[in-house]
C-alpha cells in the first residue's frame, strides 16, 4: 500500500472516532439493543471506494472483505458477471480491470480504487453487440450460458493480449474458463472468427 492509502486510513479513523463518540452519548432509550453494535460495526467495516464500472463512476463505501465479484453482483446489481466457484478456479467471474482480464472473485473491491472495470454489461455498444458476442451466438459458443459472460470477457482479452494466433494457442489461453456444458470447440471457432475479422475493441 502506498502512503496515500495510509493517510486515508488515518483520516477515516478520526472520522469514525467522532461518530463513535456521538453514538456513545445517545440515550440508551432511543437505541434498540444491538443497534449500537451495528452502527459501530458498520463504521469500522466500510471504507470508501471510487470506481468506474462500464463507464459510470461510483463513489460508495464497501467492506474491505467484499470481493470485486460480490460488489459487482450484490451492490451494483450487475448480475452478468457470474460466480462459479469463488476461489479463482473457473473464470466465470472474469471482468476487465483497466483493460486486463482478471477473476473478480480473487480481487477485493477496495483493491480497485480508481480503476476502470468493464463487465459483460458494458461490452456491447448500446443495442449493437460486440463482435465477440455476435460470434458466440453464430457459433453456438454456449449452452446454459452461465460461463458465457466470463468466456466472452476472457476471449476479448485473449485477442487483445495477442494470444489468439492459432486454435491451439486459443485453447491454452482460454483454459482458465471452464465450460461444463462443453462448448469449447465452438468457443474457439467464435474467437478465431472474431480475430480474423480484426475486431478487438473493448
Amino acid at each position: 500500500m502506498d502512503n496515500n492509502c495510509k493517510n486515508e486510513g488515518r483520516r477515516d479513523f478520526l472520522k469514525k472516532s467522532t461518530a463513535l463518540a456521538a453514538l456513545a452519548v445517545a440515550s440508551p432509550a432511543l437505541v434498540k439493543a444491538g443497534e449500537n453494535d451495528e452502527k459501530i460495526a458498520a463504521l469500522f467495516e466500510k471504507i470508501p471506494l471510487n470506481i468506474e464500472v462500464n463507464g459510470k463512476a461510483f463513489s460508495l463505501s464497501v467492506e474491505p472483505r467484499t470481493t470485486l465479484l460480490d460488489f459487482i453482483r450484490e451492490q451494483l446489481h450487475l448480475f452478468g458477471t457470474k460466480k462459479g466457484c469463488d476461489y479463482g478456479q473457473c473464470g466465470a467471474c472474469t471482468v476487465h480491470v483497466d483493460g486486463e482480464r482478471i477473476n473478480s472473485c480473487l480481487s477485493l473491491a477496495v483493491m480497485n480504487e480508481g480503476k476502470k472495470i468493464t463487465t459483460i454489461e458494458g461490452l456491447a455498444n448500446g443495442e449493437e453487440l460486440h463482435p465477440m458476442q455476435k460470434a458466440f451466438i453464430k457459433h453456438d459458443g454456449f449452452q446454459c450460458g452461465y460461463c458465457t459472460p466470463g468466456q466472452i470477457m476472457s476471449a476479448v482479452a485473449c485477442i487483445n493480449e495477442g494470444h489468439a494466433n492459432s486454435r491451439d494457442e486459443v485453447r491454452e489461453f482460454m483454459s482458465g474458463n471452464i465450460c461444463r456444458c462443453g462448448a469449447y470447440p465452438n468457443i474457439v471457432d467464435a474467437i478465431m472468427q472474431t480475430k480474423k475479422e480484426g475486431s478487438t475493441h473493448d
Partner: protein, 740 residues
Amino acid sequence: MDKIKDQPFIDRVDGVQKVTGTAKYSAEYDFPGMVYGVLATSNVTKGTITAMDTKPAENAPGVLAVITHLNCPELPGYKNLPDQSKLADIKKGYRVFYDNIVRFNGQPIAIVVADTFERATYAASLIKAAYAKETFNTDIDVAEKSGKALEGNNFKEYVRGEANAWKNAAVKIEAEYKMPIEVHNPMEIHAITVNWESDTKLTMYEKTQALSSTQQSVMRAFGLKQENIRIITQFIGGAFGSAFNTWPHSMAALMAGKKVGKPLKLMITRNQMFNLVGYRPQAIQKMSMGASADGKLVGITHDATAMTASYNEFTEGIVNASRSLYNCPNVNTTYKVYPLDLSQPTWMRGPGETTGAFALESAMDELAYAAKIDPIEFRLLNYAETDLEDKKPYSSKFLKECYQLGADKIKWSARNPEPRSMKEGDWLIGYGTGSGIFSAWRGAAKVGARLLPDGSLILASGVTDMGPGTATAMTQLASETLGLHPRDIKFEMGDTNLPPGPMQGGSGTTSTLGTAVHNVCQSIKKKLADLVKDNPMFHTEIVHEVKVDDLLFENGFMMLKTDKSKKISYADVIKNAGLKEIELQEDSPGNPMANHSAFSYAVHFVKVMVHSRTGVVKIARCVSAVDAGKIVNQKTAESQIVGAVVGGIGMSLMEEGIIDHRYGRWVNNNFADYHVAVNADVPEIEVLFVNKPDPVLNPMGSKGMGEVGIVGFAAAVCNAIFHATGKRIREIPVTPDKLI
C-alpha cells in the same frame, strides 16, 4: 433461414440474453431488503449433535436469524412423517434440521441469515457444535467385504436363457472395471431466492429441472396450497441431473425466508456442490463374457456393485445395457448397492447406462481382441434386431448406420489393428470405439398457444431449460408446423403459472414437449381453416367449403394448395372474424410405447495419443455418430453431443471424487483438485447424425440425445489406449500413473 449441412436451424432464441449477461439465473433477482442465507455444516461424518452454541453467530453484526434442529420451525411435512423408529435406516430419508442426527460430513447443521452475504458468511463460521461421534464407513471396498447390500425388488437377479453360459464358450474374458464418484458440477452453483408474500404464499426462484415436482415437495413440506407457490426458473446454468430434487439447502432457505419475513437469497458454495446436490455413484463391475470362435456372443454375466447414502435408496440401470444392446441369448446380471455414510447420489447425465456401458463396451473390446475379430465387425456380428429383454420390436434402430458413418469418417479400417503398432514421434497412437444406448420415450405435458391479432404466436409451458435449447427447438418446430417466421414466435417457460410442462431431463423433453407443440399448432391450423371455410376466395368449382387439408400455411399466410395466389394472412383471419386472438391448449398424451422398445444410440470413435514415457493421454480426435431420430435443430443438437463428449473426456481422463475414508471427508471438493475438461483438453469433435425419423415415438420423429452422447465414450477412450499401448486400463480416470 440458414442452412447447415442441409439442415435448417435457427440460432438460439435466448442467445442475446446469454451473451449480454441479461439472462437471469436463480440468484439474480433483486428485491428491496434482500437478506442472505449461509449454511454451517457438520465436520464429523456420523453421530449426533449433543450441543450447539449459536450465540456468537446470533450476536454478530447484521444477523437476523439462526436456524438449527433446536429451533426448526414446525413444518407440516415434518410433523406428519411415519414413525421413524419403525423404519429401516435406508427408508428414513434426510430432512434438514429435522433431528440432531449427522449422516454425512458436511451436512447442514444451521442456516445463518444476515443483511449482507459477507456478514452471513462470517457469522456462519461462528457456529459451534459438539457431537457424539459414531464409527462410520465411506469406503465401498470395506462395505463389500463386511457390509450388507440392500435388498428388495430393485436388486433381483436377472437371467435370460442360461446363467453363466459364457463359461462354456470357445473364447472368453473376465474382467473387473472400476469408476469413482463423479460430480455434476454445473457452472452455476445451486441457488435459490425466496420471497414469502405472506405465511401461506410465496414466490421462489429455484434451480430446478422439474417445476411441478419441486412445487409438490414445497407444498407438502409447508402445507401450502399449490396455487400459492409460484416457482420461476427462467435460466439454469447447467444441471446434468443435479436439479431434480428439492435439496436441503432449498428447504433451509425456505424456512429461513419465512422466519425473517424478508426476501432471501442462498447460493451454496462450490465445495458444497460436491455433497449437497448429488453425484454419480462409484461402481465396481465384473464382466464375464464368452463368444463362439466365429464371433457370436454366447453369454454375458454382468455383476455390478455400487453405493448409496445410508438414508436414501438410490438405484439406477447400470446393468440394463448388457441386457439389451446385443443379440445375446444368455444374459444374467446382478446389481448390489451398499449404503455408506456419505450424502446421497442422484442421476447424472446418462444415469446407469454411462456406468454400465463403460464396463460392457470395454469388455466387448477385450472379447473382440480375444476372438481376433475387428471390434466393429464383432458388434455387427451380434447386432440385435429385436429387443431380447422386452421381446418387442424397436420403434426404430439405426445403430448399424452409426457404426458405418463413424467408421468411415475416422477411417477405422485404415488403422493398423495391432496394439502398440502406431506411432508419431514419442507418442503412441491408438483408435478405439464404444457404443451407447439410452431409452427414448415421451411423457405428458401441456402447451398453451395464443395467436395474436398481428399474426405472432406465443407458446407457453412450465418447462425449464438447463442448456440444450428447449425454447429454440420448440420455436423451430412451431415455425415449421405453423408456417411462421421464428422471430414472430415467443416461447414462454420457466414458471409454474404456465400450463404444466414436462421435467427437463432423461432425454425426453423435445419428444414430450414437441408433441404438445406440434398438436397445438395443428389445432391452430384447424381453427384458422375453420374461420375461412366460408371465404369465397378459397372456393373453386369443386371446393365450396375449404378444409385444412386444402390449405398451405407459409410465412404467416394460409393459401390454397392448388392456387397459391389465393391467400390471406393469419392476422387478417383473426381480424375478419372479429376475434381478440386465438387461444388454445394441447397435450402430449404420454407414452405411446406399448408395443415397441425405443432407444437412441451413439457410436463413439476416438483417436488417442499416449506419451510413451510420461503416460500422458491426449484425445486427438473424436467422431460420434448418433441415431437420435430426426434432428429438430442441427446446431443445438450438435452442441449437445459435443458437450456430452466433453463430459466423457473428463470422465475418462480426469474426473475422480476422492473421499478420505479415515475422516469421511471430501479431499478434492473444488475445481483445482477435481479436474474437469478445459479447453486445452478438447480436440475437434465431429458429430454425425443418421437423422432418420422414428415413426412411433412422436410426430417429429425425434428421439432423445442429451444422455446418449456420453454413454460408451469412456470405453472408447480406454479401448483406444489399449490399441495405442497394448495396456488394458480398467479403472477410470486414466491418469498418467496408470500407464507408466
